[in-house]
């Protein structure tokens, strides 16, 4: 117990230190986020920050509060305590918990993107693949049908969907294709930070590998920062630069990805690592 507390303390110090150093060029920062569901804790006192182009993994078993945290910092859920900062394109620091909803939505559709675990939540199922990709473009003012279609076709190619499917509805796609379409729809306007909630959660293993590969390439190629929530340590091993481990709504360990996975300090992290990485 003592060691646990010590670790938490050192983690907090680490965070604070880094915040001081990165003050100017951090992209996104959440400090002391808490969210309650009635008497239950969703997440408690969580802090994290993300630098431009960096991939942060949030791991933990289901019910550990990682999805709650993700929805809180994206602005989908109202937080009970804490602040969320984004360093926007004009280098102005915005606090999500203070800005108006219109402003938040503006940021959500320009600087941010959100990939849902279930593509049905992130796609318009009754709109064609081309329309799905085109929506964000049209939202920011694209008004040339031919151009929008061409960009949509390019993105279909990028996410390895046959361009001939451009006018088909996502409901006729396989689960893997739907997820790739959702990624294309989100990345088409080149956001600076993308949130992903178990992006490979509902897919079988071979499809998962393909999507992870695709994500890794796209994120690196476009220099997009990402927050990935997953229960699968293989996913963070492949994609993340840093990770935080959550249990019962609390952050119990945080650090560089390799560091935490190779030398987990917290008992629970050790359990997680040992149960997965043996494979």
């Amino acid at each position: 117990m003592f060691r646990h507390r010590l670790l938490q303390r050192t983690n907090q110090i680490k965070f604070k230190k880094r915040r001081l150093i990165m003050k100017q060029n951090f992209l996104f920062q959440a400090s002391n986020i808490s969210k309650y569901y009635g008497q239950n804790i969703g997440c408690k006192n969580v802090s994290l920050d993300i630098n431009p182009g960096e991939v942060l993994g949030i791991v933990g078993e289901s019910g550990s509060g990682k999805s709650t945290l993700l929805n809180c910092i994206y602005g989908n859920l109202e937080v009970d305590e804490g602040d969320i900062f984004l360093n926007d394109k004009s280098k102005t620091i915005l606090n999500f918990t203070k800005i108006s909803e219109p402003k938040l939505r503006l940021i959500q559709r320009s600087d941010l993107a959100f990939v849902h675990q279930n593509p049905r939540d992130g796609l318009r199922m009754n709109i064609s693949a081309g329309g799905n990709i085109g929506e964000r473009l049209m939202a920011i003012g694209h008004r040339n049908y031919g151009e929008i279609r061409e960009i949509a076709a390019n993105w279909l190619e990028k996410v390895e969907i046959d361009v001939s499917r451009i006018d088909d509805k996502p409901s006729t796609f396989s689960g893997g294709m739907q997820q790739r379409l959702q990624i294309a729809r989100n990345l088409v306007t080149r956001p600076r930070l993308i949130f992903m909630d178990e992006p490979t959660g509902g897919l079988d293993v071979s499809v998962q590998a393909k999507i992870l590969d695709l994500l890794r390439n796209l994120v690196r190629e476009l220099g997009i920062a990402a927050v990935i929530v997953t229960h699968d340590l293989a996913v963070v091993r492949l994609l993340a630069d840093r990770i935080i481990v959550m249990q019962n709504g609390n952050v119990i360990e945080a650090g560089l990805c390799d560091q935490v996975l190779d030398d987990p300090q917290h008992k629970y992290s050790q359990l997680l690592v040992s149960s997965v990485l043996q494979v």
Binding site: P102, R109, I127, G131, M138, A139, R143, Y145, I148, D167
Partner: protein, 292 residues
């Protein structure tokens, strides 16, 4: 006949001029002024129950009631015609409650209440055109929630509106909306022009007349002030196109007015006539003068 109109006059005295009480009119006028200041913005107003059903023009009637003055000359059309059932009923209502002069002639009218058409005769300054609007929200069928659509307008989040147009072109090669074709008012708010055929959309642009829109059931008023830019939504490479049946009116011979198709015989033979009955009459007169 005389006796009957006397009785009707007795009837009138029970109600205020143009039916609504002055407090209610003032409330509506405030909404109208606000609407004119923010072209295309839907102003909520506390619509009253009228003696006609919702959906039958109660919004337009309330707007007309709030605008009418005794020296007004009123014209009421439905589907372009002065003598369709709804137009007759509304015109009679204002004759009864406001005792104003009425006309069928577009150029003589100071206030025109319309359902589903804009008159063919060009409107002038100081004329008021009042539209009856069933669903004022152009985004309604894309997003049913009012809380959501109001935010979309506030943020100009019109991506979804264009997705609809995109899908039409992808599917049919055309934009598939034939009436209630959405417009952007003053480069700002996407606005529902009420269910007029898209043939009428260009008439809204830069019109010298005041255009007022009333939606009673949905409790919204919006407006387009004179000489305001009104642009039908489209893509650069798929520009908006006004459309009508490619025929001539079989009464007046006009080829530039919007035509109604009528079935004239049991074997389904079709004929086309002007939907705007006043315009048709005027054209016929002009033609007979020429022949003379």
């Amino acid at each position: 006949m005389n006796e009957m109109s006397k009785n009707e006059n007795l009837d009138i005295q029970i109600y205020n001029f143009a039916y609504l009480d002055e407090n209610t009119k003032r409330m509506i006028r405030r909404a109208l002024l606000k609407a004119l200041c923010i072209p295309g913005y839907q102003v909520p107003f506390s619509s009253r129950e009228m003696p006609m059903p919702y959906g039958w023009g109660t919004g337009g009637i309330q707007v007309t009631s709030a605008c009418l003055i005794p020296k007004d000359i009123l014209k009421v059309i439905d589907q372009g015609a002065d003598d369709t059932t709804n137009a007759v009923s509304i015109r009679k209502f204002f004759q009864k409650t406001a005792n104003v002069a009425v006309t069928e002639k577009t150029s003589d009218a100071s206030l025109i209440q319309t359902r589903h058409r804009i008159p063919e005769t060009k409107l002038k300054e100081k004329q008021i055109l009042v539209y009856q609007v069933p669903i004022p929200e152009p985004l309604r069928f894309l997003e049913p929630r009012e809380t959501e659509t109001r935010k979309m307008h506030a943020l100009s989040e019109y991506g979804l509106m264009y997705v609809k147009l995109y899908e039409d072109i992808a599917k049919h090669g055309h934009i598939e909306t034939a009436y209630a074709y959405p417009v952007k008012t003053n480069g700002n708010y996407v606005t529902d022009p009420s269910p007029i055929p898209k043939f009428d959309n260009p008439k809204m642009n830069n019109s010298p007349a005041i255009q007022l829109f009333g939606a009673g059931r949905e409790q919204r008023i919006y407006a387009i002030p004179p000489y305001t830019n009104v642009k039908s939504l489209d893509f650069e490479d798929y520009p908006f196109e006004a459309m009508k049946a490619n025929f001539k009116c079989s009464i007046c011979g006009s080829s530039d007015s919007y035509l109604d198709e009528i079935i004239v015989s049991d074997d389904g033979k079709r004929s086309y006539i002007c939907s705007d009955t006043d315009y048709c009459k005027e054209q016929t007169k002009l033609n007979s003068k020429k022949e003379d």
